[in-house]
């Protein structure tokens, strides 16, 4: 994995994240993953939300398509892309506020659909761009440095919420463990369904509790049999993953759960549109010499009365 071998894009943006930001580790892991899997704009689109994490696609040194969307809505944009062009790999970068605050409805609904996409959540416990308010993943009672009072909300556990929402690949990583993150991302992108990769990430500017040292002292590599091999063990494997997800003294990172027995959404649509995967909306021929290709009579004759 030689970083210098990457095709440097001279149109890439100046990276304005804070020094020491966990995003750098995630950016590097994404770049290495794209490079190793030979993913670029021909086959992959990076979708992001709003916040520090949302800028990630702009900062990539790989020639990529980037769609920097709205706060909380990246999954919605991504689903539209994936539905009209199922051939595209869709990778989403979103923050914890993005995903579990303003966009939590989309997060839960995405689990019900199981579209083949990869969601990377940048989980740092704070809203960085707005100067450090508590995000939905910050523990109750914690007072990070710019909070006027300790946080009085209980946290969402992203891994557990993903599991009960129907995510079929659920993993957690640490922003500074690039090697682990790359290996998880490769599995997630290959996964036949929706994948959550929740990445614990220090915010050196606003989160003085969940620091690098905080995580380094607590994290350990998860080693469980996470794969559902038949439907009978689905609930058991989910329960195992949820139990692990709530461990707090020591924080496990790795893959918690995978189930490829659930049909993905594009294949569900194929049930209704038999040639969907070969002739999807993005490539259908609209017109010949500016004339619509739609056979009109088929539509009108259903309503004929005379």
């Amino acid at each position: 994995m030689d970083y210098n071998k990457l095709n440097i894009d001279d149109t890439a943006e100046f990276n304005d994240w804070c020094i020491g930001c966990g995003n750098f580790g995630i950016l590097r892991a994404v770049e290495l993953t794209l490079h190793d899997l030979k993913l670029d704009y021909h086959n992959t689109v990076m979708v992001s939300g709003i916040g520090c994490s949302g800028k990630l696609p702009h900062f990539l040194n790989v020639k990529i398509d980037g769609v920097h969307t709205l706060h909380g809505r990246s999954l919605a944009f991504a689903s539209g892309i994936k539905l009209s062009n199922p051939n595209m790999n869709v990778i989403i970068d979103a923050g914890d506020g993005d995903t579990f605050g303003i966009g939590v409805g989309h997060f839960v609904s995405a689990g019900r659909r199981n579209m083949k996409m990869t969601l990377i959540t940048h989980n740092n416990g704070v809203y960085g761009l707005t100067k450090g308010q508590a995000s939905p993943t910050l523990n109750r009672g914690e007072k990070t440095k710019s909070l006027p009072k300790p946080n009085i909300n209980d946290p969402i556990n992203p891994v557990a919420l993903a599991l009960v929402s129907g995510y079929t690949f659920v993993a957690r990583s640490f922003a500074y463990d690039t090697q682990l993150t790359v290996s998880i991302l490769k599995e997630a992108i290959a996964h036949k369904g929706i994948a959550l990769v929740d990445i614990l990430q220090p915010c050196p500017t606003y989160n003085d509790i969940n620091t690098i040292d905080y995580y380094k002292n607590r994290i350990y590599k998860l080693d469980i049999d996470y794969k559902v091999k038949n439907n009978n063990e689905k609930v058991e494997k989910m329960m195992q993953a949820i139990t692990k997800a709530y461990e707090a003294e020591k924080i496990p990172i790795g893959i918690f759960y995978q189930n490829e027995l659930v049909p993905d959404y594009n294949n569900r649509i194929k049930e209704d549109i038999p040639n969907y995967l070969d002739y999807y909306p993005a490539i259908q021929e609209l017109s010949i010499n500016n004339k619509s290709t739609v056979d009109v009579i088929q539509i009108l004759q259903k309503h004929r009365i005379v």
């Binding site: 969307t69 892309i81 409805g105 839960v108 649509i269 993005a282 056979d295």
Partner: protein, 623 residues
């Protein structure tokens, strides 16, 4: 008019009646009114039959088919010729009807007591009779019982066939042959027993009266279809190459999306032969997801749209702003219902025009089209998809509930469906290494390629030609102007016929300025007013953005009086006219009850304005 308790098949009955009349060569326009509930409250459909196309109804009806007592109490003052009703309801008292809203009961009470009548259904019918209405009382229970005995079926099955008795009777009044009705019934109901049951019910009604109107069967030269406005929009989108439709369930928009889904596999005549092209219909978790998924889909090159009404459109505002910023062709079909808030969710209105024109924070081009009838809905849906791609910006297509839920008979050859032009503007699949999505050029429109064909960025942040975030003044100056001047180009390029439609004598001294559902009744008033010695022209605004300022100024420059007629409080269409042209309406006819403006009430109001020199009339659906 046919009325009854919601859920017993009023709508089906009206469609069967309409289809049968249409088979005899007549046009019809049928408007539905119903409560925001599934079952149990009063709903009714008004069907207007004519030998020329019409897009309006009248408040006063020739025939009232009442399947329950409430229908009689709600409408007995508005009947001109016949009331067809169930004899068993004669003794029902006004105050015994719990489902009726107090205000309506009180109005009925006032009329009845003023005329020294009692408070039963029989009294209401008596009132109508004194005004010359003929009452046709039929013993519905008796008819249904004999059908139950004949077919040996359980009695609950027959409940929904009640409506057919009245349909049969009024069909006889028209003087049309029973075959027309029975053939419609048999094609409507696939289950044999149900078809038989409904045919028998209709026949009993048919045999219980004599013919009155003596309608002749007319010659029909081309195929005709019967659809409602939701279906018209769906058909227009499908003809126009729609490939992706997202939606969240909401009245009165959802029917459009479910129609597309039910008919999603279309035959396409492609350059490599006949192929099936599937339209993806995506039911989302909310309208935020609906608009943003449609935008995402549009980035792949698929023609994409969503459909909603007021509350959903409010949620879409942020997404529409993103689409404006990122020059995304996306169509939002915006069904107008009674607002603000949940408002009158199953009723109509024109109160969201200003919102549609200004939706989303910031300045960016929004093209806004308003349809006035079913033909226009089909054509405008196609135009919307074309303009969205041509000018790479959101297009909002306004359709009022009153049209969306109205049935109409259309001539196939007028739809011009075999000659549908697809204009994708600067869309291409080819881009070279130097591609810039937002390349600045003279007219503001850059070549657009789908995701996957070049490295490109989109961002809701202000961006440079590449789509990367750029906050410099020099960039902002250029790229902001690039986006906004597309509307100036659109104003210049879009043909007049898409923007404005004028009817009546151009030398008329008076003009009506209006839009949407009000256009139909307005045009029908032209000839009626001529008989009163009044010469009036009707100016319909079809496109509110870009606004046909030059055309409106030219038409209205020598008018003595300009009457704004709208289904809202503020005459928003007139406000937009003033904003764009400086011309003010002189008089106003306004209605915000949630019901469409009817032809007869508009005529009366116009006469009142022009003969009695009033300046403003508020229409009230007065009992």
């Amino acid at each position: 008019m046919i009325g009854g308790v919601q859920g017993i098949g009023i709508d089906t009955a009206a469609v069967i009646f309409g289809d049968s009349v249409a088979k005899a060569g007549y046009y019809l326009y049928g408007s539905r009114e119903y409560y925001s509930t599934i079952k149990g409250r009063h709903s009714y459909t008004t069907v207007k039959i004519s030998d020329a196309p019409s897009s309006s109804i009248n408040n006063n009806v020739e025939i009232l088919i009442a399947t329950d007592a409430e229908t009689i109490f709600q409408h007995f003052t508005k009947v001109k010729d016949f009331i067809v009703y169930d004899k068993n309801f004669e003794n029902v008292e006004l105050n015994g009807i719990r489902s009726m809203e107090n205000e309506i009961a009180l109005s009925a009470y006032n009329i009845l007591s003023k005329n020294n009548l009692g408070l039963t259904c029989r009294d209401a019918i008596e009132y109508a009779k004194k005004k010359g209405v003929k009452a046709i009382g039929i013993d519905y229970n008796n008819i249904l019982q004999s059908i139950i005995n004949k077919l040996n079926i359980p009695s609950p099955l027959t409940e929904r066939a009640k409506t057919m008795i009245g349909v049969g009777a009024s069909f006889k009044l028209l003087g049309l042959s029973f075959d027309l009705l029975s053939s419609t019934i048999s094609s409507r109901f696939k289950n044999d027993t149900i078809a038989k049951l409904n045919t028998l019910a209709a026949k009993s009604g048919y045999d219980s009266t004599d013919s009155f109107y003596n309608l002749k069967v007319l010659d029909v030269s081309s195929h005709r279809i019967e659809i409602d406005g939701n279906t018209a929009s769906a058909i227009g989108k499908m003809l126009g190459g729609l490939k992706f439709q997202s939606y969240y369930p909401i009245t009165p928009a959802s029917d459009e999306s479910t129609y597309i889904e039910a008919n999603q596999n279309l035959v396409l005549n492609t350059s490599s032969g006949s192929k099936t092209g599937g339209i993806v219909v995506y039911q989302t978790e909310d309208e935020l997801a609906a608009i943003n998924a449609a935008i995402g889909s549009a980035l792949t090159g698929a023609r994409s749209a969503t459909a909603t009404s007021g509350p959903g459109f409010s949620l879409m505002a942020e997404g529409i702003s993103w689409a404006g910023m990122n020059e995304v062709p996306v169509v939002i079909t915006y069904y107008l219902r009674g607002a603000p808030s949940t408002g009158l969710p199953t009723r109509s209105g024109q109160s969201d025009l200003m919102f549609a024109l200004n939706v989303g924070h910031g300045e960016f081009p929004r093209i806004v089209i308003a349809s006035s009838n079913h033909y226009e809905i089909i054509n405008d849906a196609i135009t919307a998809l074309n303009l969205a791609e041509k000018y790479q910006t959101p297009v909002i297509h306004l359709i009022e509930k009153s049209i969306a839920n109205a049935y109409a008979v259309l001539d196939e050859n007028k739809i011009n469906a075999n000659n549908i032009i697809i204009d994708r503007g600067l869309f291409t699949n080819n881009a070279d290494e130097s591609y810039r999505r937002f390349k600045i050029n003279e007219d503001g429109i850059s070549a657009r390629v789908p995701l996957g064909s070049a490295a490109m960025f989109y961002s809701g942040d202000e961006h440079n030609e590449y789509g990367h975030i750029d906050e410099t003044s020099s960039n902002r100056l250029k790229i902001y102007e690039k986006r906004n001047k597309k509307l100036e180009l659109a104003a210049k390029e879009i043909e007049k016929k898409y923007k404005i439609y004028v009817s009546g004598d151009k030398n008329a001294e008076y003009a009506i300025i209006t839009w949407g559902s009000v256009v139909g009744p307005s045009i029908e008033c032209i000839d009626m007013l001529k008989k009163e010695g009044i010469n009036i022209q009707v100016v319909q605004i079809k496109m509110f953005s870009p606004y046909p300022s030059k055309e409106v100024s030219e038409i209205l420059k020598n008018k003595k009086r300009i009457i704004a007629v709208e289904n809202n409080y503020n005459a928003q269409g007139a406000e937009v006219m003033q904003l764009n042209t400086g011309i003010k309406a002189t008089d106003f006819i306004l209605k915000w009850t949630g019901r469409a403006i009817a032809g007869d009430e508009l005529f009366d109001a116009l006469v009142d304005i022009l003969k009695n020199n009033k300046n403003k009339i508020v229409l009230d659906d007065e009992f």
